[in-house]
């Protein structure tokens, strides 16, 4: 064997044409047949193809599709995307955003709630449901402040409380009718909002949260000790209410429930208006830690934040007025630390920066807190456990489960694939079926075969042959290697950059994208083109052996 290798020599077919310059003969390795049957897959192959879970609607084809919009916006009632099914080419439609449908369903259920409520639980349920409506509305405004504006204020409930106290006071002492209370709340909310907003321009995150918490506590202590605000009675009561006393007890409960739902819907509309339009978009450009970038883009995020903050505060004032009209007054519990804590739990559980998160979180926490009064303090522990679980295991609250699950599934998928991949990169069925151009599947198979064979051709002799003469006629082994290298796709294909003609060259790699210049590969300077050619060859050999 040793002898045979030593004796194998390649003779240049150009010998005789150019006696002086060319390499006539070089030592080479014994010839190997490049034609091999492809090997079997080394991993088990499974039947693949996952049927889709979601219904796809057929496209309209020749029929006219009359689309309706939410007047007066340009938003279509449902965000529907048309396209071709890559597997069947069928023209089909997908509802890209099903949330409007879920909201409708949820509200239909809430509207129909009275049909399903047993008489025995009516009192508890309606009270809880009304609280859900009011707290949901408050939390939506809070979500605007924390989520959209990115201001970590914990003084939300104190704004509501201040407005509730203020409007209740007006109602009791000046005889304001119930329908005026929310509107009295608005300026109170605005003033309070202004007071809280001022430090927000100077303080960041944690310190601001502490400050607002302190403010909250200050309010609580104040109303607890203030005679004017009913320190004796444990609250300020006696305001006018929209619920007429003449109504039956059940009627009163029902009216309170539906009124709270209306309040919730109004808060949702506000959330959508601010978050989904210009202000919200501006603020999404300027998330925390990236303010400088937004500013450099010409976005005045501070102004937008203050605007959102003030608008939300006015809305909170409105809700405070409604609160007073609903409960016929206000209680110091609005300022208590556990209200703030529960409110925070509501936001966290549902998921930040989304309306549905605020509403669902409120639903769960209020449901547990007010619906299961029988459990006593245990229910608080339960809420704590849920909150802890959400914080520990979920990235974006309950509504973040879907993207989080998908990300996890994709991660697992790629992990599985990497354990199952065939060495050398041949495609497995699960990857192949997702490849648009099926030609690529075969190219990869061929490429793998090719590389497996070419690796056996890389020897010191071949490298030495290339070093002696990078261009020109080569032995079969070297020629095969070079031909393979030259046909590499453009992306990351090696090229040479001339720094100074005939003096200095450097290896770069092509981008493979129109208009994108090649990128540097190494700093080494080659003194001649032949040296640079050989440098490229050595890199390519190395890449081949490593692949």
């Amino acid at each position: 064997m040793e002898n045979e290798q030593a004796s194998a020599r390649w003779r240049n077919p150009l010998k005789g044409w150019q006696p002086a310059r060319e390499v006539d003969e070089v030592p080479t390795d014994p010839w190997r047949n490049p034609v091999h049957a492809p090997g079997r897959y080394t991993v088990k192959l499974f039947a693949i193809g996952r049927l889709r879970f979601f219904h796809k609607f057929r496209a309209h084809g020749k029929r006219l599709w009359h689309r309706t919009r939410y007047w007066p916006t340009r938003r279509r009632v449902l965000d529907v995307r048309g396209g071709y099914n890559p597997k069947t080419l069928a023209a089909e439609k997908t509802i890209r955003d099903k949330r409007p449908l879920y909201w409708l369903t949820a509200f239909a259920c809430l509207l129909a709630l009275p049909l399903a409520v047993p008489d025995s639980a009516a009192n508890t349920l309606y009270t809880a449901a009304a609280i859900f409506g009011i707290y949901g509305a408050i939390n939506l405004c809070w979500m605007l402040i924390i989520g959209t504006a990115g201001v970590s204020s914990l003084a939300t409930y104190s704004v509501v409380g201040a407005a509730a106290y203020g409007s209740a006071y007006c109602s009791i002492h000046f005889g304001m009718p119930w329908w005026a209370l929310p509107f009295i709340g608005v300026p109170i909310g605005l003033v309070f909002g202004l007071i809280i907003a001022l430090p927000a321009t100077r303080l960041d995150g944690f310190y601001y949260a502490l400050l607002t918490l302190g403010l909250n506590e200050l309010c609580r202590t104040y109303v607890l000790q203030s005679k004017v605000f009913g320190s004796a009675t444990g609250g300020l009561y006696g305001a006018q209410s929209y619920i007429p006393d003449s109504l039956s007890a059940d009627g009163q409960l029902l009216l309170g429930y539906y009124a709270s739902l209306v309040l919730l819907v109004m808060a949702l509309a506000l959330y959508r208006t601010i978050n989904g339009r210009r202000l919200g978009r501006i603020l999404r450009m300027a998330p925390e830690q990236k303010e400088a970038f937004a500013e450099a883009c010409g976005i005045d995020y501070r102004r937008a934040r203050i605007q959102v903050f003030l608008l939300s505060s006015m809305a909170l004032g409105f809700i405070g007025g409604f609160y007073a009209a609903h409960f016929r007054g206000a209680s110091p519990s609005l300022f208590s630390i556990d209200t703030v804590a529960l409110g925070l739990a509501m936001l966290m559980i549902g998921g930040m920066q989304r309306a549905e998160g605020a509403v669902l979180g409120t639903f769960i926490v209020v449901g547990l807190h007010h619906g299961l009064v029988g459990l006593g303090p245990l229910r608080l522990i339960l809420i704590g456990v849920i909150m802890l679980a959400v914080v520990l295991f979920l990235r974006g609250g309950l509504f973040g489960i879907k993207p989080q699950f998908r990300a996890w599934r994709d991660k697992k998928k790629s992990e599985n694939r990497s354990t199952r991949s065939v060495k050398g990169g041949e495609m497995l069925p699960e990857e192949a079926t997702e490849t648009f151009d099926k030609d690529e599947i075969y190219r990869r198979r061929f490429d793998k075969q090719q590389r497996d064979f070419l690796k056996t051709l890389v020897t010191a002799q071949v490298i030495e042959e290339h070093r002696r003469q990078p261009l020109g006629q080569h032995s079969e082994a070297l020629e095969r290697l070079l031909m393979y290298f030259r046909r590499h796709p453009q992306q990351d294909k090696y090229a040479i950059e001339v720094l100074e003609p005939f003096k200095a060259y450097r290896i770069v790699a092509l981008s493979g994208h129109r208009g994108v210049a090649p990128h540097d590969v190494e700093e080494k300077i080659y003194a001649s083109t032949d040296d640079a050619y050989h440098g490229v060859f050595m890199r390519r050999v190395q890449d081949l052996l490593e692949s």
Binding site: L14, Q18, A20, T68, Y84, A91, E497, P501
Partner: protein, 773 residues
């Protein structure tokens, strides 16, 4: 400070004393540049040669120039001048067109037709979204309202698209109907694709139409504070027979148009019949409107005509046979044919400026790399005096102008057998669309580039430039090696260009006794070829100092000599292939492709024609027995031994890169002599495709005897003659050893003998000739 970059071009490429030359210069990072007129002698910096040689010429334009940054409009589109504002559609309207988008979803919005102002959000437009959906949009200056089709457009399919807006109820209806047939589109009937989509919505407001917004087809107006107005949202693909109505067309009416009916004139504002205007001799840039206002649309960057339309039936292959099937106007978002830069300087060529190759050298800052620019032009003699002329193949320079092969062509390393060697200026070119493409590139939509012009900086028509993919000089800088040789030999020569030959025909060459070609005169118009043929037949003497010449059919418009059209098709070594049915030049109406396929192989003119190419190795010639015959032995006078040109600046050989061979079957005159032939070409040399009927193993340099360069000599009528070297690398072998070598000797023998009056030695082959030998 920004990096200093200088780029420029001239309005003409060939001038004579008294002509006025306009320079257009763009500068980055500087507002002055030092100008110096130079005569170019040699351009190849290869250490085996004499290096770069220029001669500074005193001249009034030398000195500091004020220069500024200039901008280039990229993309082709049509503008309809509309002074009366007929297209200010303030009431109900309908827009429609047939379209064939080539890359509907390339991530950029593409406008099809409309009066849209991108910067102000004003007007209306029918276009294609970033994701490839047909969409109608209109704006009132603040807001934009959209109506999108249900299904995305499939690339390379023909569609009829229309939008109508009903001003009474603000309803807009968008329609998209597939009109593919068995021939005109990529997919056929068997692909189960539903193309149609009809969507209606009530829009919120009406468009606000400003007076000055232009109506554009395949673009929309945009604005930039440094640049002013320009056109953005340019489109890739074809548009056929677009129209505008000032009323809502019913579905039946639209269906009728979509099936080929001519639209009625009831409410018609414009109907651009793209099939009108074809003549036997091609078509121009005007698209005719048969509507009441006659708002003919003008092309910018030459939207491609003579392309198949939506109703092409596959039977007729030329617009001359069926103009009504050739309504396709082809647009490309990255087309650049004229930079239209502001004039930087104007200069009248002085009477005493000797004919030659000149450049205006501009330098700023460091004065090297991108801070140095040579704006090349050719000065011909106002009154020819010399006996020798060098015909600079400017048509071929155009073909390769700013080629991107190293970057974009995956096959190029396999073809040239080496990794490319990229210079800074090429990287700069690759990063900027403003420099345009060559006929060796494809537009971003994959269609071949069939037009090229010199009214843009041609960065490889520069001294010192090298062809990155091949590691050698190419075209202009390679031809400077012949210029350098003429200078070194002290011959009295004058320079003229393909443009002069095209314009004046044989008359341009007639004053000269000898004409030398460049190293690679590959592209020829019919008039150029006729001129050369007549010149030789009338007694002229042609030295074809190159390889792969007289190959592609090209055409120029008489009034736009800076722009050349070529269509690559069927057979031949080509970077792309024209689509079926699009094989005739829009410029002249003649068939494109190879001259060989039109009955004029290069062998008929020069005795040799293209046989093979390879780019990593060159070989020497060896004398052939014919060179000892007394008819031709004078060619080898002073040559020792049999081997010629085993040296050269192009891979160390005089025979290589592209090779031409003698072939009686293709019209080499039967009395032609092969005085030398090359041999020993590597397997990187492969037989050209037009020679192939079946491809089989062994069609490479070491195994096929046809792969060689033939040095051929023959006499022509009236004491004319042709000497052909059959190799591109020949010219680059001349400068070796300071122009003193056996290849130089051979060429000098031929030039000196050809330059003499009277019959050539041994031409008549009678005994009387002994007296002068």
């Amino acid at each position: 400070m920004a990096q200093i970059k200088l780029f420029g071009y001239t309005d003409k490429i060939t001038v004579k004393a008294g002509d006025e030359l306009v320079f257009h210069v763009s500068a980055d990072g500087t507002d002055t540049a030092e100008a110096q007129l130079v005569r170019l002698i040699h351009g190849d910096q290869h250490p085996d040669g004499p290096g770069f040689i220029e001669k500074e010429i005193a001249c009034e334009v030398n000195g500091p120039w004020q220069v500024a940054k200039q901008f280039t409009q990229v993309g082709s589109f049509l503008t309809a001048e509309d002074p009366q504002g007929a297209l200010r559609l303030d009431g109900s309207f309908t827009l429609f067109a047939f379209i064939h988008p080539t890359v509907p979803a390339w991530g950029t919005r593409q406008a099809l037709l409309g009066r849209w102002d991108i910067q102000r959000n004003e007007g209306y437009c029918l276009g294609i979204t970033q994701a490839g959906f047909l969409e109608f949009w209109q704006g009132d200056g603040k807001d934009i309202d959209y109506l999108k089709a249900e299904l995305p457009l499939v690339a390379n399919q023909w569609y009829f698209v229309a939008v109508s807006f009903d001003a009474r109820n603000s309803q807009a209806t968008l329609r998209q109907v597939g009109v593919g047939n068995r021939y005109n589109s990529r997919l056929g009937k068997v692909a189960p694709v539903e193309y149609d989509s009809h969507v209606r919505e009530t829009l919120r407001f009406r468009a606000r139409n400003q007076d000055d917004t232009p109506f554009l087809i395949a673009g929309a107006r945009d604005w930039h504070e440094l640049r002013g107005h320009f056109v953005g949202q340019t489109y890739c693909g074809k548009i056929d027979r677009p129209g505008v109505y000032q009323r809502v067309l019913s579905r039946d009416e639209l269906d009728a148009i979509a099936t080929g009916a001519v639209p009625t004139d009831d409410g018609r504002v414009c109907y651009w019949d793209t099939t009108l205007g074809y003549t036997e001799h091609g078509i121009g840039d005007t698209v005719i409107d048969i509507g009441p206002h006659g708002l003919h649309a003008q092309g910018y960057n030459r939207p491609n005509r003579a392309q198949t339309g939506w109703n092409w039936q596959g039977r007729n292959d030329c617009f001359r046979l069926a103009p009504h099937e050739y309504g396709g106007v082809d647009f490309h978002a990255d087309a650049v044919l004229d930079c239209h830069w502001q004039e930087t300087r104007r200069w009248r060529i002085p009477a005493d400026l000797k004919s030659g190759v000149y450049a205006l050298r501009l330098r700023a800052g460091p004065g090297i790399g991108l801070a140095e620019e040579y704006i090349v032009f050719f000065v011909r003699a106002a009154t020819p005096r010399a006996r020798i002329a060098m015909l600079m193949p400017t048509a071929s320079y155009l073909a390769y102008a700013n080629e991107h092969l190293s970057f974009d062509a995956q096959i190029v390393q396999a073809m040239t057998g080496q990794p490319p060697i990229l210079a800074a200026v090429e990287m700069e070119m690759y990063k900027n669309k403003e420099f345009g493409l060559s006929t060796y590139d494809k537009y971003l939509d994959g269609q071949g580039v069939n037009l090229s012009s010199y009214r843009r900086p041609v960065l490889n028509m520069r001294p010192k430039a090298r062809m990155s993919s091949m590691g050698i000089t190419w075209q202009f800088p390679a031809d400077l090696s012949i210029i350098g040789w003429l200078e070194a030999k002290g011959y009295d020569y004058e320079v003229l260009t393909d443009e002069d030959l095209h314009r004046d025909g044989a008359a341009a060459l007639a004053p000269y006794k000898v004409v030398l070609t460049g190293t690679h005169p590959e592209y020829h118009s019919e008039r150029m070829l006729d001129g050369l043929e007549d010149y030789v037949a009338d007694g002229g003497r042609l030295i074809y100092t190159g390889g792969n010449g007289f190959y592609w059919v090209v055409a120029f418009r008489d009034d736009e000599p800076w722009c050349m059209e070529v269509r690559k098709l069927d057979s031949g070594m080509c970077a792309w292939r024209a689509r079926p049915g699009e094989h005739y030049l829009a410029t002249t109406g003649e068939k494109g492709g190879l001259w060989r396929m039109r009955g004029r192989p290069p062998q008929k003119l020069t005795g040799v024609g293209f046989i093979s190419e390879g780019f990593e190795h060159c070989a020497p010639y060896r004398r052939m027995p014919d060179s000892y015959h007394r008819r031709a032995d004078w060619i080898m006078r002073g040559v020792e031994g049999e081997v010629l040109g085993d040296f050269g600046l192009a891979h160390r050989g005089a025979a290589g890169i592209e090779l031409d061979r003698y072939d009686l079957a293709l019209g080499t005159p039967p009395h032609a002599l092969i005085v030398a032939s090359s041999g020993g070409h590597t397997d990187n040399y492969i037989l050209v495709t037009e020679e192939l009927l079946y491809a089989y193993q062994g069609l490479t340099g070491t195994q096929d005897h046809r792969i060689r360069a033939d040095m051929v000599y023959f006499t022509a009528p009236n004491d004319g003659a042709v000497f052909a070297t059959g190799s591109i690398a020949f010219g680059q072998a001349l400068p070796v050893n300071n122009f003193d070598n056996n290849v130089s000797t051979v060429l000098a023998n031929v030039v000196e003998t050809f330059a003499k009056d009277g019959p050539l030695p041994g031409a008549a082959w009678i005994s009387r000739e002994k007296q002068f030998r």
